[in-house]
């Protein structure tokens, strides 16, 4: 499951993904200036394709640009993270609702298989480590894709998740609610299987809300 779904055939595409990764992982720290000349030299390319990559990063919201001044990696604020989680709760709720109406038996089967795999891996290594990243993302991606709503896919998978991952990396958050989350996932799949859109939305929103409240708790502990 490549997060960088785009084909990275052209230079701006590749550099965009690399820079996004570097920013999300915190390798390029928040608030730091983006020097075009320096980055162009580092990646061994000219400034033209680099500028396009920067332009795309700005469109996604990972960096801020000021004319004739330059670009900076966005500063992190807890409030903005909460804002983003509200958006995510809203959108993923809708994704679950549409998925309940549009996913066929085969797609639901794949979803179930994913959860089984999660459960197995959780029994194996205690479950704590697994759930924060790829596993959880897999589950959510399948539902979002299952909604069949391309605009939702673009917003959630291409833009929002990277932002959330960035905050996660910066604040050093680990979710620690693996078992509870797995149970919630099962309930959501059951609702989708029954094609109960209302319930699927309700459960998904509660699930994301719990994750947000978990984040809020961790922030207040700092």
């Amino acid at each position: 499951m490549s997060i960088c779904a785009d084909q990275l055939r052209t230079i701006p595409e590749r550099v965009f993904c690399q820079l996004r990764e570097a920013i999300v992982e915190g390798e390029i720290p928040p608030g730091s200036r983006i020097s075009e000349a320096e980055l162009a030299a580092r990646y061994g390319i000219s400034r033209a394709p680099l500028r396009e990559a920067i332009s795309r990063l700005a469109a996604v919201g990972l960096i801020e640009r000021r004319p004739n001044v330059g670009a900076r990696v966005i500063e992190l604020s807890a409030d903005q993270l909460i804002d983003i989680f509200h958006v995510r709760e809203s959108l993923e709720g809708t994704a679950a609702r549409q998925a309940a109406l549009r996913m066929d038996a085969e797609a639901v089967g794949r979803l179930r298989a994913t959860l089984d795999e999660h459960a197995a891996r959780m029994r194996q290594d205690g479950g704590q480590a697994y759930f924060q990243e790829a596993g959880d993302v897999d589950f959510h991606y399948q539902i979002i894709q299952g909604s069949g709503n391309h605009y939702l896919v673009k917003l959630l998978c291409h833009d929002l998740y990277h932002l959330i991952r960035m905050y996660r990396c910066q604040f050093g958050m680990r979710s620690k609610r693996g078992p509870a989350a797995l149970e919630e996932h099962h309930a959501i799949v059951a609702a989708i299987e029954r094609h109960d859109g209302d319930l699927a939305e309700l459960l998904m929103r509660a699930h994301v809300r719990a994750s947000r409240e978990n984040v809020e708790r961790m922030i207040s502990e700092i």
Copy 2:
């Protein structure tokens, strides 16, 4: 109320707004190729700033790019419009909820004043003509801004509304449900004033859903 909120100091900024307007209004028809050389000549600029504008248009989703081939204005499909309306319903519901919690008395007063102005103008010219564009947008923008959620503002005001406006222009839709919409607006404001987030979200979602169903009806009539 300038829709192009950004300062258009730099050339790409200006051209981005001009092109977006041309695409939304249908002056550049859907599916048509975007020739860099031709547009650069028309706007009297070089290809470099034009490419940045095109890049931004692609990020917003108004055009599609294929490497080494070129950019085309997106094709319109009724299904995608419905998809977008689902997203809008979801996001504006959340905006109304947060606005109910965060808007102060003064902001609510401005909202009321806007509605009064709408009512007056509706009595004046029969109301049909007014409600599709600026007036309705004004009301929704105030609530979205009132949510205090910057990410919501970006998604709804900067990206989504232009898409919807584009579809409206292409399909030649007029809403024709002015009086009903005004009544719904009043109910939403009342909920916000009472700081009833649940109700505000419920009403806003119903309001947007009604708009979507209106659109679905018009589509099926074609």
